[in-house]
Symmetry: C2
Subunit: 457 residues, 2 copies
């Protein structure tokens, strides 16, 4: 039989076990953090009924959708009825609308699953990637305090993830939209203008000004200047809020603008009650977020040492989660961590290295006649909570050590007939190279101490 | 806008949060069990390059494959290049062949992911379901001791899963194939005969005999009787092995048959060294397994109280994992738990009920003026490791209790201005209805004790 070259599809991330363990630990940290704040788990099927998934989305999104079809369905010439989810928000909307009567509101859900986008593949862009989302969905109303809880969760999580210094930037989209109103920016221009503002950090203020005044958008110099002036307000939260408050009383400021400023003031006050340290957040009036469903607070999170990476945790407030599925009014606020991309970036930056294995102890096999002894010792170690592999294949001891070292297993246990006769066991630490002889009866307790803090991190 | 009915595709399992938590705890137990035995994690993309995925599989499997195609690719009239995995074994083969040089052998991997089959949907059959797999892959050789480790893992896992009594049945496929050789059953007949034997428990011995002698297979009465006699050997491991050993010395017994019996003897001896209690395993010569890649030991696991369910954990030994991708000889042995189906069965049997929430404490909001106090208390509880939700929405206390009760949160904390003045906090246990007043300074420690063993199970 001719051999097929084993390979994965471009745009997917597949990790060797020692990297997968690091990834898994990050996911566990995120999940633990979400649960710590009282979010509850939801998982949805990878595919949704295509009509249901795409009932709201625009053409841009549709181009990136992966459709799913069984052999039988293709043979019969049917159109695909299923499609892979492209985010976790639409499935959440479908879930909440479908199970509205069975859920307790405010509904706080977390969801950690992969999503799919049929993007052109390029370095660092993924067609399959993990999103780690939390959202709180209210029924009819949802107080602004929830908008302040999101940065509190981000602060806790990113501190625990150990990814270096970070800063949460946020804004209220009503401020920009209110400003547009007062400047006569039309409905049609609003989203394209927001999308250009979103690129400020990437392409710089002069380029954005040029685009705002360019053929496509055609804003006047005065309007573009005014927008960029407001968006450019920098400083401490007090300073930014003071500048905004001053603008509220200017002639021409609309009620929407005033509402946005007032919401921002409330969110900042609540953020302080949540004790999110001010070193970790800023008001940034340039944060617009490209997606059109945000209606109030919007967030982005940047790694201070890796500004080029862009936001690693983003989200915002929306007025109505599921208007395509239900007449109930379901306001919400949420954030999303694109974990696959974050992991890629941290690997590229050398921040993520292979860590210790989940396996903590290797019981080596020195003498096949003693197999029952090795199995007993292994069972004892496991009963004590130590992740233990028994080398079931006879091999030279040096090779078994090499295997453990390569696999990232820190401790190797050696027991030959001599040791057995003496009632001892040799424990070798493959990181330090240290080797100690321990009475057989004490080896489990001894290894439990040695391995604590190792492997299961 | 017309509303779209929110719904999921048939053949998928989607759970409400309190059931999802139970599912998640089962997955965690399985993962912990796998890691306890020194298996390391692998995750593969949900889709594989179609040619790579289907390079070995037969037509039968292909009919159940889901193909994946982006909007752009469909518009251009291309054939789908991607397909969803239908098991975790083919992706493992591809992974090991692709990364052979980077892995430590014997390679012990676990993988807990969903797989996809375009089956006709019916009650209890899923198109998307979780498989929890472990496999050990050797290079060139893999001793039989590994075959005995699998039942040890199954025994540990299923004991911890708390799914009631269970029994691991196993066999060695060489015994049946050797028997077929000696009886003149042709190459072409072997797999169909095995598949009929697989149905013994379902349709009974007389129906199987009828089918073996029927038009399609056409075995003689003598051959069918002989096969069913061997397959029907029952008794303790000693008795079965004694009966088989007696057959080895009969004229006509082939070397393959003898090898199968000898392997079974070795596996039983190793099983005893692993101390898997004999109450939990039996040799069952009727276990054939439908899949054609097994070449030695095969396993099935049955829930004693639910025999109709069929096997909930199956697997076996194969000579060569990845012959379609590499010339390296990669023998392996593995098992797979179909968790979605197992969960469904346990729910249907009433064994699985809603459990406590992952959220352990709800800090209620009695007085919006005390929000900062609630947030501080919440932060202290979280720092002590308690999963804590703060009721950020003002509401009547009774409604907040009802919310907690519905969400499965056991403890509610109440602090109004009276309590604040007295320096106390009221803690209500929503399961027992008990209510105690605790000094503010002691509430975290007190709740840590009360909630221990609850919620995080």
């Amino acid at each position: 039989m001719a051999l097929t070259t084993p390979r994965t599809s471009p745009g997917t991330m597949e990790l060797l076990p020692r990297k997968q363990m690091v990834f898994q630990r990050m996911m566990d940290t995120i999940r633990r953090g979400f649960e710590r704040y009282g979010f509850v788990p939801v998982e949805t099927p990878v595919f949704e009924v295509a009509d249901v998934l795409l009932s709201k989305s625009g053409g841009e999104t549709e181009k990136q959708v992966y459709f799913v079809q069984s052999t039988g369905s293709i043979e019969q010439g049917h159109k695909p009825e299923l499609a892979l989810r492209f985010d976790l928000t639409v499935p959440l909307a479908r879930f909440v609308a479908e199970h509205e009567g069975e859920l307790a509101f405010p509904f706080r859900r977390y969801q950690i699953q992969r999503v799919y986008r049929g993007e052109r593949s390029q370095k660092g862009r993924y067609r399959e990637f993990y999103q780690c989302d939390i959202d709180v969905i209210g029924k009819d109303t949802l107080p602004l305090t929830f908008d302040a809880e999101m940065p509190a969760v981000i602060h806790t999580l990113f501190s625990e993830l150990n990814v270096g210094p970070f800063r949460i930037n946020f804004n209220n989209r009503k401020i920009l939209l209110g400003l547009f109103e007062s400047l006569g920016v039309t409905e049609d221009q609003r989203m394209p203008v927001l999308r250009q503002l979103d690129r400020l950090d990437k392409i710089g203020v002069e380029e954005v000004r040029r685009l705002l005044m360019g053929e496509e958008l055609g804003l006047t110099q005065a309007v573009a200047d005014h927008i960029l002036e407001v968006v450019g307000i920098r400083g401490s939260a007090e300073e930014v809020l003071a500048a905004l408050t001053a603008q509220v009383s200017l002639p021409g400021a609309t009620p929407l603008f005033a509402l946005g400023v007032s919401e921002l003031v409330q969110v900042v006050a609540a953020l302080r009650a949540f004790k999110v340290p001010e070193t970790h957040w800023s008001i940034n009036l340039g944060i617009a977020r490209g997606l059109d469903y945000y209606t109030g607070t919007v967030y982005e999170t940047f790694l201070t040492d890796h500004p080029g990476v862009g936001s690693v945790c983003s989200g915002g407030r929306y007025d109505n989660l599921a208007s395509q599925y239900t007449k109930s009014r379901l306001p919400g606020v949420g954030i999303s961590i694109g974990l696959t991309r974050l992991f890629y970036v941290l690997c590229e930056a050398g921040i993520i290295q292979d860590g210790p294995s989940t396996t903590q102890v290797l019981v080596t096999q020195l003498d096949p006649a003693l197999l029952a002894e090795y199995l007993s010792l292994g069972a004892e170690l496991r009963a004590a909570g130590l992740n233990t592999e028994i080398h079931l294949e006879p091999a030279k001891l040096a090779r078994q050590f090499k295997y453990a070292d390569r696999a990232g297993i820190r401790f190797a246990v050696v027991m030959g007939s001599d040791e057995k006769a003496e009632g001892v066991v040799t424990v070798k630490d493959l990181v330090t190279g240290e080797q100690i002889r321990v009475p057989r009866g004490e080896v489990v307790a001894r290894l439990a101490v040695l391995a604590s803090g190792d492997g299961k991190r």
